[in-house]
């Protein structure tokens, strides 16, 4: 569905955080990207959503290059992005946050209302507190709100950046339960995660990236079987060698 072809990305010239990444989010599936911090996972998602232009390579949506699409055009095409850091509006109410989440439906009041009620249905806790301001929510509720906000405009693809960072285990497991259900509703998921254990559990396909490149592509099941090995290799390198040669 969404494909990155030989992407090189960086914040300034000469520092390419990603140095030629090719990967694909298969339609109707969860694809996970794992790797050590600093490997460029978040940068990749920012690039896919159009916040950062690639220095080289292409982003393709269903085979068509969307390199020159702005963020709002990508959103209208069904690409939603859930950043790692809070993307809610702290001094607006939950209701207003969700309304703005449905910004692209603003000309169709009935549709907007309907989508909001649908999202409230998914997150009863938000429905209960719809008049509360975002800043008064707990960390977990805030995370729920940012997910909910991206679901109001119906997405076809959700780019998710580190959903469980800083979350209590209960909240994290709720989040993963929700992510698992998304493909069933026709939403493709591209997940970037440091929480390797959970990411490989729910993903069909997993890309391990490091030092700006894809190091390994396997199924989630494969990674589950070879997890220790992969981690050890990540930490110690492929061939054991003495330090400071």
């Amino acid at each position: 569905m969404l494909e990155a072809r030989d992407l090189a990305v960086g914040y300034r010239e000469g520092i390419d955080i990603l140095q030629g990444i090719s990967l694909e989010a298969a339609p109707g599936a969860i694809t996970a990207i794992i790797g050590p911090n600093g490997a460029g996972k978040s940068t990749l998602l920012r690039c896919l959503f159009g916040l950062l232009p690639p220095r080289r390579g292409d982003v393709l949506l269903e085979g068509r290059s969307i390199d020159d699409w702005s963020t709002d055009r990508r959103k209208a095409a069904g690409i939603a992005y859930l950043p790692q850091h809070n993307s809610t509006f702290p001094h607006l109410t939950i209701e207003e946050n969700l309304k703005l989440g449905g910004w692209l439906l603003r000309d169709d009041r009935a549709k907007l209302r309907e989508r909001m009620e649908y999202v409230y249905g998914l997150f009863p806790i938000l429905a209960e507190r719809r008049r509360a301001r975002a800043t008064d929510l707990s960390g977990g509720q805030l995370r729920m709100l940012s997910v909910a906000k991206e679901l109001v405009t119906p997405p076809r693809l959700l780019l998710v950046d580190e959903p469980s960072v800083g979350m209590a285990p209960i909240v994290a497991s709720e989040l993963y339960d929700l992510l698992v259900r998304l493909p069933g509703w026709g939403i493709t998921v591209l997940l970037v995660d440091q929480n390797i254990t959970d990411a490989i559990r729910i993903a069909e396909r997993v890309y391990l990236i490091g030092e700006g490149r894809v190091q390994r592509t396997e199924s989630g099941a494969w990674f589950q079987d070879h997890l220790e090995e992969v981690i050890r290799e990540m930490l110690q390198g492929p061939v054991p060698e003495s330090p400071r040669a």
Partner: protein, 339 residues
């Protein structure tokens, strides 16, 4: 002197050109009538203010909006010293500069902790307060009616004044040039470029910001003191914000954070327009429009442009002096904050 010789060795063309300009300006009154001389003389007042502001805002990155107020403080303090204490006029001017420096230290102490917008507004508020206090306390300052002060020289002839202002301007320019080559100059530019990195290099950022603030306000106070005793009548209007706007316009036009920028910009704004005999208002419209154009299209200004041209003529890769470091442009959408 060693510095001068070295710069002569390193950049003979630039140094030679600079010297030629200085000589030309020194001889200028020979070709001007009294009125024109007076006009150029006042141009030097703006040169002095421009240099003092450029030191602070251009080289150190402290975008103060109170330079005109410190000049006004210099004027009135000098007047007070001469009128109330009976000091001779030159002594009064020194008192004016010192008063500005002391108040500058105080304001610096208060505002240098503030960043960007807040620092600018804080200094602006100080300047406006100075203006209001001067016009409200008319029993002391005679308010908007103006305060007559003794002239520096016994003669109304503008020529001696011209040379005093000229000398002070060139001294300020020389001081600026030398400072840039000293450790202080390095510290200033480092603070402007990246405070965190300057600290990590062992620079006491707070201390040196304060030092530059005091130097800059003392220079402005000196200019203001001279101005008062050259004009003979002080007014709180000297502290009007439009005066500060003129300093900014002159410096940015000539070349923000370039050595000669304030000189070129101030003399151009003052002299050329006078020569063209366009009205005050048209002059401001034209120069303001030019400044917007400069900042929008070519931030280095006139001097930056000339420097670039000179580099190119000598076949060196052009440097890119600029008002800011452009961050890579994002064609797709606005950047959402670089982590």
């Amino acid at each position: 002197m060693g510095e001068l010789l070295r710069s002569l060795r390193d950049q003979p063309l630039r140094t030679g050109l600079g010297a030629a300009v200085v000589v030309l300006l020194a001889l200028l009154p020979l070709g001007l009538n009294g009125y024109q001389t007076q006009v150029v003389m006042l141009g030097y007042f703006w040169v002095i203010l421009g240099i003092s502001w450029n030191l602070l805002a251009g080289y150190t990155g402290q975008f103060s909006l109170a330079q005109h107020a410190f000049a006004t403080i210099g004027s009135y303090a000098s007047a007070a010293a001469v009128l109330a204490l009976g000091l001779p006029v030159p002594g009064g001017i020194v008192v004016g500069a010192l008063t500005a420096a002391v108040l500058g230290y105080g304001l610096g102490w208060v505002t240098l902790r503030l960043r960007g917008i807040y620092f600018a507004i804080g200094t602006w508020a100080f300047a406006e307060s100075v203006r209001i206090l001067l016009s409200v306390n008319y029993h002391i300052t005679r308010g908007d009616a103006g305060l007559p002060v003794p002239f520096l020289f016994a003669t109304p002839d503008p020529f001696p004044y011209y040379y005093v202002f000229f000398a002070v301007s060139m001294l300020a320019l020389g001081l600026n040039a030398v400072v840039l080559r000293t450790k202080l100059g390095y510290r200033m530019r480092a603070i402007r470029d990246d405070q965190e990195l300057a600290v990590a290099s062992g620079v006491d950022v707070v201390k040196w910001k304060r030092v530059v603030f005091v130097i800059s306000t003392a220079l402005a106070g000196l200019g203001g003191g001279l101005y008062g005793h050259a004009i003979g009548l002080l007014s709180p209007n000297q502290a009007q914000f439009s005066q500060m706007a003129f300093v900014i316009i002159a410096v940015v036009l000539g070349g923000f954070r370039t050595l000669w920028g304030p000189v070129v910009g101030a003399l151009l704004a003052q002299g050329l327009a006078e020569a063209l005999r366009i009205s005050q208002e048209w002059r401001f419209v034209v120069f303001a429009a030019l400044v917007i154009l400069v900042v929008r299209v070519y931030p280095p200004g006139i001097m930056g442009g000339l420097a670039m041209l000179a580099e190119r003529l000598r076949g060196r890769p052009p440097r890119s002096p600029s008002v800011g470091t452009p961050v890579a442009e994002t064609p797709i959408a606005e950047r959402g904050g670089v982590p």
